[in-house]
């Protein structure tokens, strides 16, 4: 049995838990507890550890999806999670421009951890005020060779699209 790992990262409330949950074949394992800081106003519970999902490809191959903790006080987990990853997805909340800078910082950190392929997913594209992916590319200073993909993390087909774009990118550099 071979296992491969894709990491889903991004700022707090970007939609990582929903993203992993939309596509995982198992109920997503997440460590959640009530939070007491200012972010409580955003949602009642938030992920303080990470989400974990699984997709069985066939008898010999399993894909694991790991969502990283959103808050910076858990960033000690990020490097651990990134070890050995096939690639990573940076999820950005397209209706929260105040989080773009943090998204960029997270992206740069992950790039430094390990040389893996990645895509940027512009989440919450179903909302009226969402920034279009190409505007996000400019705001986040994403290189033209990196894909910025529209995404609705609660929609399975949309999540599939993001994962496929990442896999197509990885395929370009994979060995025969």
């Amino acid at each position: 049995m071979q296992t491969v790992k894709i990491v889903v990262t991004g700022p707090f409330n970007a939609g990582k838990t929903a993203f992993v949950g939309s596509i995982s074949e198992i109920e997503v394992v997440s460590t959640e507890r009530r939070i007491t800081d200012h972010s409580q106003s955003i949602k009642d519970q938030t992920t303080v550890a990470m989400d974990f999902g699984r997709i069985t490809v066939d008898e010999g191959l399993v894909l694991y999806l790991f969502g990283t903790p959103g808050q910076r006080r858990f960033d000690f987990m990020w490097e651990i999670l990134s070890e050995g990853m096939l690639g990573f997805i940076v999820l950005v909340d397209s209706v929260a421009p105040e989080t773009f800078r943090e998204a960029k910082e997270i992206l740069d950190l992950f790039k430094n951890y390990h040389p893996a392929r990645y895509v940027v997913a512009a989440n919450k594209q179903d909302l009226e005020d969402a920034w279009p992916p190409e505007d996000l590319r400019i705001a986040l200073k994403i290189d033209s060779d990196i894909k910025v993909v529209p995404c609705v993390a609660t929609d399975k087909e949309s999540v599939k699209g993001v994962l496929l774009e990442l896999l197509y990118s990885i395929l370009e550099t994979a060995e025969e």
Binding site: V4, V29, T56, F76, E83, H114, L171
Partner: protein, 268 residues
């Protein structure tokens, strides 16, 4: 007059009991294979312990337990000082307060004495009225709780070693077969879960995350009991020939694997 013997005949809990009941003051030196420890007591309480090279100075101890970081340590004077001098210096610089120093020393002493509970053979000698060196920071600890907790840990260790004798095995996640909603994992458990790979032994996972044998056994035992993982023989990793540092970089992925992933996700 010194009391001498072998741990085979007189166990550490029995010795500690004797010291506690008799409210003894002195130094108990124990030897096991290549290790040696000296435990100091004052009026029946544990006050200091030195174990091989673990008896580093206060500054190194605080670094090790994360009370001061490497950057802060670099800013401190480099010349040798006694523990008490280090304590005063660190308090004056505002890096740490007295209570934190005492707590760190207490915890460090306890962790070391609990290790000694696994020593079941080797000579010991108790020398009455011998106290720790003057420069050491002394934190008196009641022995009753030490004996209880140490004995509990020995039992726990035995049970865990029986349940999980071979740390050379690898782990496999089997989460598809159990309901996992609401499961709560600690950060250390997550570290282990995120490192599970049939090509990696439990021992290697422990080393990567600086977990002791006892800690990794506890975590893996919990995961096994929850039906979250299973023990599997280690699969030889592709990158086995690489050094540990090189292994961090993922091995090149073959196109066949990516195509299988693409095909599966398209069909979801």
């Amino acid at each position: 007059m010194a009391l001498r013997g072998n741990l085979r005949d007189f166990s550490l809990p029995q010795l500690l009991n004797l010291v506690s009941l008799g409210k003894k003051t002195g130094a108990l030196t124990l030897g096991e294979r290549n290790s040696q420890a000296t435990v100091y007591f004052k009026e029946g309480m544990l006050v200091h312990l030195s174990l091989d090279s673990q008896d580093s100075n206060l500054r190194h101890l605080l670094e090790r337990v994360g009370k001061i970081n490497e950057a802060q340590s670099r800013l401190l004077p480099q010349e040798a000082r006694s523990d008490k001098e280090w304590g005063i210096l660190l308090i004056n610089t505002g890096l740490i307060d007295r209570a934190e120093i005492m707590e760190a020393v207490r915890r460090h002493t306890l962790e070391m004495v609990y290790r000694l509970f696994t020593w079941t053979e080797g000579g010991f000698v108790f020398q009455p009225n011998v106290l720790p060196p003057d420069d050491k920071i002394i934190v008196p600890i009641h022995l009753e709780n030490v004996i209880l907790e140490g004995s509990r840990r020995v039992e726990e260790r035995k049970r865990l070693e029986e349940e999980l004798p071979d740390l050379g095995m690898a782990l496999n996640l089997i989460c598809s077969e159990v309901k996992l909603k609401g499961i709560r994992l600690s950060p250390d458990e997550w570290r282990v879960v995120s490192s599970i790979d049939p090509g990696r032994t439990i021992q290697e996972i422990a080393q990567a995350h600086h977990l002791t044998d006892l800690q990794i056994r506890k975590i893996v035992y919990g995961l096994l009991s929850a039906g979250f993982v299973e023990l599997v023989p280690r699969v030889k990793p592709i990158s086995a020939a690489l050094s540990a540092e090189e292994r961090i970089i993922p091995a090149p992925v073959r196109k066949g694997i990516i195509l299988r992933l693409i095909d599966r996700i398209r069909r979801l």
